[in-house]
Amino acid sequence: MSTVLSAKDFATSQEVRWCPGCGDYAILKTMTKTLAELGARPESTAFISGIGCASRFPYYVETYGFHTIHGRAPAIATGLKLANPDIDVWVVTGDGDGLSIGGNHLLHALRRNVGLKILLFNNEIYGLTKGQYSPTSRRGTRSPSSPGGSVDAPLSPGEFALGAGAKFFARAIDTDKAGLGDVLKEAHAFEGAALVEIFQNCIVYNEDVFADFTDRKNAAEKQLRLKHGKPMLFGADNEKGIRFNPDDFSLEVIDARSVPEQVLRHDERNKVVAHLLVELAKPVALGVIYKCPGDSFEKSWYAARKSGLKRSSSVADALRSTNTWTVT
């Protein structure tokens, strides 16, 4: 089976069980298309997820798939990656699954730089459990568990990832096929842990929470699409640019036409700017925000072991590796 596969070949026979109109559909579609474009082999691809609407994802992709338990997908995926580093392991998680109950595992998978491609479907709500506020919900979110509005300050997935020592952080919008597809490919090509935050619309419990910048009509004005080495421009005619202001250490919007030389060029390896980009609200930065290649955890782990997980010695010998004596 080395024929060329199409997006359809990556779809399973299972009926997709998300609410009609849910952003997850679009992500699924772009994912299967991207797999086909990448020439991925179904047998050496695995999707590992936790629990949540997002985490139903593996049921719909014709590769290996494991729908595990709430919050633990990164840990399970780490075990799989150590057991068989040749498998392309995608982790699918939600803002609750990955940042609430599963925050610690995500933290440590990122810190260790395990070669996982982690897709965080951020809808700023707990979808599957019927709409409670999540760790990314904005202050004041009214939900069944916060009828008067939530008082928790939200976590920024980007800040969290950088704080965890992540070496790859990118962002995309559920329905933006091109942008999402590109980011998925970049993540796939990255050796270590790649975290991709996907702004995903939950039409039932948090409809249009990102509409302000995801709406196509606002896109040009409210989205900053980053490309490594390219100036940070946006606006209908790329007439606006981003400048670093060294006086107050901030990113600010300038007229790109009048002072083009002041427009910052995107350098994926610049962590300081990455910190500023993930906090930038107007416009919202999309694409690969930070990328710093280096050895993956599994690579270092195997490098430290002479023969990988293969046996190079016998138990019979090991049993005798200490003082022994013979009774006759």
Binding site: L82, L319, R320, V327
Partner: protein, 632 residues
Amino acid sequence: MSDQISMDSIVVRLAGDSGDGVQLMGSQFIASTALSGKDFATFPDFPAEIRAPVGTTFGVSAYQMNIGVSPITTAGDAPDVLVAFNPAALKVSLPLLSSGALLIVNNDSFTARNLTKAGYAEDPRDTGELDSYQLVPADIGRLNLEAVKPFGLSKSDGGRCKNFWALGLLMWMFDCDLLPIEDWIRQKFARKEVVRDANLAALHSGHAFGETAELSEAIPRFKIRTADLPAGEYRGITGAEALSLGLAAAGELADRPVLFCSYPITPASPLLHRLSRLGELGVGTFQAEDEIAAICAAIGASYGGVIGVTSSSGPGIALKTEAMGLAVNAELPLVIVNSQRGGPSTGLPTKTEQSDLYQAVYGRNADTPIPVIAARSPGDCFFVAIEAVRIALRHMTPVLLLSDGYLSNAAEPWRIPDMDDIEPIEVNAAPGPDDTRDAQSLAFERNAETQGRPWITPGMPELMHRLGGLEKDIDTGHISYDAANHQRMTDMRAAKVESVARFIPPQTMELGPQEGELLVIGWGSTYGSIFQAVRKIRKTHSDVSYTHLRHLFPLPENLGGLLGNFNQLLVPEMNMGQLSTVLRDQLGADPTPFCKVTGQPFLISELAEKMESMLPPVVVAACKPVAKGEAR
């Protein structure tokens, strides 16, 4: 040379501050006696603090060993020899000693300060309270410092050699060959020459002290008969060593790598430490961020076709519970090792207990049965590890393996098994692609005998399927909320675990006949004590038998029958009666529990006493006075 005292066995206890190197000294002494062909059992007993405050009773670290002719199965009730490095060590150990025991005390430590710290108002060497013992005061501190002086160590560094000084003395008393231990010191401290030489000097100085003091005939020498162990090649082994090697052996027998995923916790950590040195045997280790990540990584490994193993002790096992449910539901192999310790909660981390049996057998949400097996002795850990992996792979199920703090650290001489004698472990092969059924169904085609499904793992072409923790259709593995299917799946999971009982050998007696008055039922690390106690009682009561369970869930199929052959059942446990519950539940038995929860192993004497109390008094016909009016 003074006459040697010949004995069948002897119990020696070393006790001192946590920093005195007592554990090292003990294990080295045992290594030497092992090489001279003796049977032995050890019991290391140490405080929870890394270095508890110097001189206090709660900071005392002790190492007790029983050496002699086979079978030695416990570290002994009452020490015959005590080496006490300070007053606190003396104070803590005194109540345990056999009368007339030999007391070697470090004179230099009996300062006013240390006496107070130990809670002595007066120096016990002066009050007469040691009169019933054989006191050998030795200026261990001073003599050791003198011995190491040439090497220019600081006073505190030099003082650290005193365990070797005392070891030298012991070696003399027990007439052991110094060579192996000298070699060991040379190797261990190869990179620190000064320390190496100082330790060697201390060792020799202690040895010489024996020779010299001998002149005054104050110090006895012991000649312990050599063990009549079965023929074979032997080594000393602790439970942690045996368990790690057993897991590696299982990997070899199944021809699969092993991934051991764990998070440090007392007393489970030694397994992680040992396995992290067994890379050449195809064993990988992963120190996870917590116990949940550890079991999850192990599940991920099993999902990836490698034998996933995780390990912890009670509190950490509690955290793994949810993920165990996933492994059951996903029908993946997994071994979960629990090195039990005293609880509840943080409890007594360094003390031993068998109180996680409830947790193992019943401790999950939903109907989530998991086979449970337990090791009985350090060496047995090797075989139990293999058995656990065998069950896990045959039935595609997680297996709980119970060890405990005592077993982990205790040592015994062990006949090295021939790996060729051990049956290979079979893996449920992945089917070839099949046109009539899709991969999803193939992945859940279970063996009718074992309910084990094929071990299909990512990387295998044409067998891609989806797996998850939601209820699955019994045939296709797809998500199913169907009522009848849930019943069938629940029944299947129960049947799977029950089927384990059909693959295990029938329960046998360790001692005694197949029927009689009293059957003692044990499990886990109490084996040694119960064995000795029943052996003792059987001298007067031949109708007492002893059986010891390896398989706790499911129980061996013939066990109910065996239990029915006795009038009384006694279940000694280091918990509040947990096996008794299982026997009542599973077999409708009515056992008498005998419980001890002190963090200390059973004494042979207390077990024997309990049995006595359940049995008719021994009638010594000739002397028995007949009470007036008593019907005969």
